[in-house]
Amino acid sequence: MNYIKSFILLAVLGIASCSPKMAKETSSNDNNASKDFRAMAPKAGPAREIEIGKSTQYTLANGLKVIVVENHKIPEISYQLTIDMDRMQEKEKAGLSDITGTLLSTGTTSKTKSDIDEAVDFIGASMVTNPKGGFASSLTKHSDKILSLFSDVILRPSFPEAEFDKIKTQTLSGLQANKDDPNAISGNVSSALNFGPNHPYGEITNEITVANIKLQDTKDYYKTYFKPGNAYLVIVGDITPDVAKAKAEKYFGSWAAGKTPTYTYPFPKTLDNTAVAFVDKSGAVQSVINVTYPVDIKPGSPDEIPARVMNTVLGSGFAGRLFKNLREDKAYTYGAYSSLNSDELVGSFSASASVRNEVTDSAIVQVLIELNKLKDQPVTTKELELAKSFIYGAFARSLENPQTVANFALNTLMYNLPPDYYQTYLQRLSAVTIDDVARMAKKYITPNKARIVVVGNKDDVYSKLSVFDKEDGKVQLYDIYANPRKDESSTPLSVTANEVVDKYLMAIGGRAKLDAVSSLDQTYSMELMGMAITAHMVQSSGKFHMSMTAPGMSLMKQIYDGDKGQMEQMGQKSTVEGTDLTSMKEQAIIFPERFYGEAGYTLELKGIEDVNGKPAYKIAVTTPGGSKSTEFFDKESFLKVKEVQTAEGQGQTVTNEYGDYKAVDGINIPYTVTISGPMPTPMVMKAETVKVNSNVDPSLFKI
C-alpha cells in the first residue's frame, strides 16, 4: 500500500530525482591555446578545516550518557536514543529485535497508537522507534511535548497485542516479497556464509522464525535490553547543554539503572581458497554476483581512511574501476560496485553486479581481474586524487545534515575514537599516498580467499562456474536461506518425465477417478490492497469460467464457451482471440497432466531442484498450443508443488506454488495457491469450496 502510494506520489509530482547521467561523449580543449582565465577550470582552494560543532557530555545517575550538540541554525531539536548493546543471537526467533523496535511506539500505558499519531501530528513533529532506541524531533517550542511522548514510548510501552499481530503480518509480507528478490537473497546468503550460524550477523529472518515470535518475547527483549547503562541520548539542535541536561534528567532520569548483557563471538572462519556458492532462481534473466569475504577492520582504525580511498578507486560510483570495466567497457551490467565495511565485531568486503545470464562467468573473470590488479599494481596519481575529492565532497555535503554531526559524536564515544577523529578526517584523507593504497589493497583485497555468491538461473549459469572454485572444483548449491543443498541434477535420474507425471496422477487420485471428473468448481479467497477478493473458477466439459469479485462488484471475468472466448474487466467486454484464445482453451481442460503423454506435448526432465527446502522433479512442459511452463513435482509425494510460466516476449514470469492438498471425493486438490511475479508482493489464494461433478449452472459459460 505504501509502495503504491509513494509510486503515485512520484508519478503525480514528477519529483523522482535521478542522478545525472554520465556523458557518453567527451571532447577536449587541449588545442585551445588561449591563456584566457576562462580556458581552464579554476583550481580548488585549500580545503578548510571543518568545524563539526562541539559536543558536551554528561552521565545521569542511572548511567544514561547524554551527548549534546548545540546548533542554533534552526529552531529545531532532535533526540536520538541509542542503546549500545552487544548483538545477541536470535536463532530460532530471528526478527525479534526488529519487531520489538517497531512495536514500542504503537502504545504506552496511557496512550493508544492513534493518540500517539495525533499528538505527534499536531505539533508537526516526527518520531520513530527501533531495536536500539529511537529518534524524535520537533521545533524548539514543542520540544517538551515530543520529549514527553518519546520518553513515554521508551519507558512505558504497553505492547498491544493487535499492533503486534499487525507488525508480524507486515513482516511476513516483506519476507514474501524478498523471496523473489535476487538482491535480497544474495545479501542473506552472503552474510550467512561469511559470518556463519554461530554469529549474530549470520542469522536470517524467515517465515518460521517470525512465526516463533510471541508477544511475551518482545516484552522480554525490552526488559533485557532497554537499560540506560549502555545507552546514549544524543540531543542535537537549538538547545544549551544545561537545558539539555535538565531535560534528559526530567524525562529519562526515572529510567531504572541497569546494563545489558555482554556477548563475545569468535572471528568467523575465512576460506583458504576461493569457493563458489550458488542459489537457483528459476527463470531469472540476470545473475547477481557477489565476490565477498569477512574482513577485520574496526571503525576508527588507522586503516579506515586509506582503505576507503582504495575502495573508492575500485568501486565507488561511476568513476570506479569496476563500473568502468563492466559497464562502460564491456556493457555487461547497468552498474558494478564494491564496498568495504568496518565493524566492531567483523566487517566485510563485497564486489557485486547484476549481469546477463550469458556473461555471468565473463563478468566474474573481470571482477577477479580488477581485484588482482588492485592488489598487485599501484593506482595512478589521477585515480588517487579523484577518489580523495569524491570522498571529500561526500563528507562535506553530509555535514549539512545535523544528524551526521550527532552520529560523529556518538561514534567517537561508542568506538573510543580520539576526540578530534572527525575534525581531522579530511587532513588524514589528504595525506593518503599511493603507497598507503597499495598497502591497503594487499591487506584487504584477497580474491583467492573469497566466496563468489551467485544467485541466478541454474540451467543457464551453474555449469560454467566450477572453474572458479579452487576448494574442490565444485559449486555448492544453497537454498535462499543458505541451507546447503545437494546437487541432484548431476546424478543420473532413474525416472523419466512421463513416469513422474504418472506418479503425480496416481498421487492425486489415479487416472480412473480423474477421468470420471466432468466438472470442477473451485472458489478461492484472497486479499488485495486491503480488499477481500473472491475468485471463482469452473471447468466443465471443455468450457471455462473464471471471475474475480470484490464485495458488491465484479472486477474481472473470463469465459470460454468451448468455441469463443471473452474477457470482461470493470464492466468492459472484449473478445479473446489468437494465442490468448488457445491458452484459454487449454485452461478449460481438467487435470491437463492426464494428456502430457500424448502427441503435441513435449516434456523434458531437467533434474531435481529444491522447492521450499524439499527436493522436487523439475519438468519443462510445452503444450500443443505452444505455452511453456516449468513444473515441479515433490520427490517424495509426487504432488505438484510449483509451476513457473514465462509470458512470451514480456519476460514476465508468474510463479504458482501449491500446498495444503486436501482430498475432495478422493481427489487431492491444493487448498493454498501462492501467486508471485506480477505484483509487488505475492498473493495467497485459499480455497473456500471445491466441488467435483456438481451441477454447474450453464449460464456461467454464456457469452
Binding site: 579554476p42 501530528d121 570522498i391 555535503r397
Partner: protein
C-alpha cells in the same frame, strides 16, 4: 534531473516558507553593472556552497509557434560552452565531489550546483560559461531533440496520469501562455532552426534576466571578487526582456471532459483557478489545501483513503505561479470504485470547508505544521539559495525569506472559509475524468 514537472514541487516549495521563531537569514545583495542581481548568504557551519542561477524565463515567455524552448535550453545548457567540452558539466561537478541539478517551470529556469566550498570558483566558472557563451549548435540541438522526445515519452505519454498538468492547463487557459505545456510541442522543436535557438539564447539568457544566488561557506569579499571576475564581462541584452502581459478571463462555468490514458484505475482531476502567488487570497487558498491534504490526518486522506476507502490516493496541490494559477485536486479510485462516486466524495469535503468554520484546534495544527515545514526547509543551503532567488525574482523582496510567515499567520479561520467559498466552486473549475483506454471504444 531536468524535469519540467518539478514545477509542481517548485510551487509547493515556494508556498511553504514561513516561520515564527525562525532565525533571521542575514544576506547581502547587489547588482553588477550588466544587470545581474547577486544574492549572497554566508553560512559557515558546513564547508559547502550552493551556487545557483535563476533565469526569469519559463514556457510563458515563448513564442506560441515555438513552444518548449525554455525547457529545451535546460538540456542544451549542459551541452558545453566555448571552454567546456560537450557533456563535461556533470563531470566537472562530480569530480569535485559535488552534485548538480536543473529544472524549468512556466515562469523560470533554475540551475544549481552544491560543491565543497573550496570549489566556489568552479561553480562560478561553470555558470558564467553557461551565461556567456553556451554551446548552441546543430549537433547539440539534434542530440537534445531526441533526448527531449524520449523524456516526453517517458514522463508524459508512457507515465500513468503523466498528462494531467497538460490536459488540465489546456482547458483552464484559453489565451494565457500557461495553456501550453512546459515541455512544449515536439513539432515546434523539430521545425525550429539553429537561428531560432540562438536568438532565444540571446534574448533570455542574459545577466539582466538572471539572479545569481549563493549560499554557504563563503568569504563575502572574496566571493564578490570572483563574481566580478567571471560575470562582469558578460554583456547585458540590447532589448528589454519579453514578458507576456496577458490576462486570462474567468472560466464562467465548469469545463468537464474525459481523458483516456494507459491506466488501470480511473482518476478524477479538479483544477480551480486561483490568484497569483503572493496575493492575500493565495495564502488562504494554500491553507485550504493543507486542511485537505497535509498528512495522514488531513481531511481528504482520512475520509477517502482511511475511512471510506474510495481512493487509493487523493491530494490537493495549489500551484504558486507568477500569474494566476490553479489549485489541483487529484484522486485515484480504489479498485471497483466509480469515478463519479469519488468525485462526489471529494466535493463533500470541499463543501464542508465552505460551510463549517474550521475548529480552533485544527487551525492551530495547521499553523504548527506550516511552521515546522518552513523551518526544516531553510535548514539546507541549496534550499536557502533557491528561496532567496525566488523571493527576489517574483516578489521583488528577498527578505520575504524572513517574514513571509507573517502573511500566513495573518490568515484567519474566516479567511480560509471565504477563500474556499470564493475559489473552490464549480463554475471556476476544470474537471477531468481519467479512464482506462480500454473504455474508450464503448458505444
Amino acid at each position: 534531473m531536468r524535469y519540467f514537472l518539478a514545477l509542481f514541487i517548485g510551487s509547493i516549495m515556494i508556498s511553504v516558507p514561513l516561520a515564527a521563531q525562525m532565525n533571521k537569514i542575514q544576506f547581502s545583495e547587489f547588482d553588477l553593472p550588466n544587470g545581474l542581481h547577486v544574492i549572497l548568504y554566508q553560512d559557515k557551519t558546513t564547508p559547502i556552497v550552493a551556487v545557483s542561477v535563476m533565469y526569469h524565463v519559463g514556457s510563458k515567455n515563448e513564442n506560441p509557434e515555438r513552444t518548449g524552448f525554455a525547457h529545451f535550453f535546460e538540456h542544451l545548457m549542459f551541452e558545453g560552452s566555448d571552454n567546456i567540452g560537450r557533456g563535461e558539466y556533470d563531470k566537472y561537478v562530480q569530480n569535485a565531489g559535488g552534485n548538480l541539478n536543473a529544472n524549468t517551470t512556466f515562469d523560470r529556469t533554475y540551475y544549481y550546483e552544491v560543491l565543497p566550498s573550496n570549489q566556489l570558483d568552479l561553480g562560478l566558472w561553470l555558470e558564467s560559461e553557461r551565461m556567456m557563451h553556451a554551446r548552441v549548435d546543430e549537433k547539440g540541438i539534434e542530440t537534445q531533440r531526441e533526448v527531449v522526445k524520449e523524456e516526453r515519452r517517458q514522463r508524459i505519454d508512457n507515465q500513468p496520469y503523466g498528462s494531467i498538468l497538460e490536459e488540465t492547463f489546456k482547458r483552464a487557459y484559453h489565451v494565457h501562455p500557461y495553456k501550453w505545456p512546459v515541455i512544449g510541442s515536439m513539432a515546434h522543436l523539430e521545425a525550429a532552426q539553429e537561428s531560432d535557438y540562438k536568438q532565444f539564447y540571446k534574448d533570455f539568457y542574459v545577466p539582466n534576466n538572471a539572479v545569481l544566488s549563493i549560499a554557504g561557506d563563503i568569504d563575502v569579499d572574496a566571493a564578490k571578487a570572483s563574481i566580478e571576475k567571471y560575470f562582469a564581462g558578460i554583456p547585458k541584452s540590447a532589448q528589454p526582456v519579453y514578458r507576456p502581459r496577458v490576462v486570462e478571463p474567468p472560466l464562467m462555468g465548469e469545463i468537464r471532459d474525459t481523458v483516456y490514458d494507459n491506466i488501470q484505475l480511473p482518476a478524477v482531476v479538479q483544477a480551480y483557478r486561483i490568484p497569483a502567488q503572493g496575493t492575500k487570497d493565495y495564502y488562504a487558498v494554500d491553507m485550504v489545501s493543507r486542511i485537505l491534504s497535509n498528512g495522514e490526518s488531513s481531511r481528504l486522506y482520512k475520509a477517502l483513503v482511511d475511512e471510506q476507502q474510495k481512493a487509493l490516493f487523493v491530494g490537493n496541490f495549489p500551484l504558486a505561479l507568477e500569474d494566476p494559477g490553479v489549485s489541483l485536486t487529484f484522486g485515484i479510485t480504489n479498485m471497483g470504485v466509480d469515478v463519479n462516486q469519488l468525485e462526489s466524495a471529494i466535493d463533500e469535503q470541499i463543501v464542508k470547508v465552505q460551510n463549517e468554520l474550521i475548529s480552533e484546534k485544527e487551525f492551530q495544527k495547521l499553523r504548527n505544521q506550516i511552521e515546522s515545514e518552513y523551518v526544516t526547509n531553510n535548514s539546507r543551503d541549496a534550499g536557502i539559495a533557491q528561496s532567496l532567488a525566488t523571493y527576489y525574482m517574483f516578489f521583488g523582496d528577498a527578505n520575504l525569506i524572513n517574514n513571509e510567515i507573517d502573511r500566513y499567520l495573518a490568515v484567519t479561520r474566516e479567511d480560509i472559509q471565504a477563500a474556499a467559498k470564493k475559489y473552490l466552486v464549480k463554475s471556476n473549475r476544470v474537471t477531468l475524468h481519467y479512464l482506462p483506454k480500454s473504455q474508450e471504444n464503448k458505444s
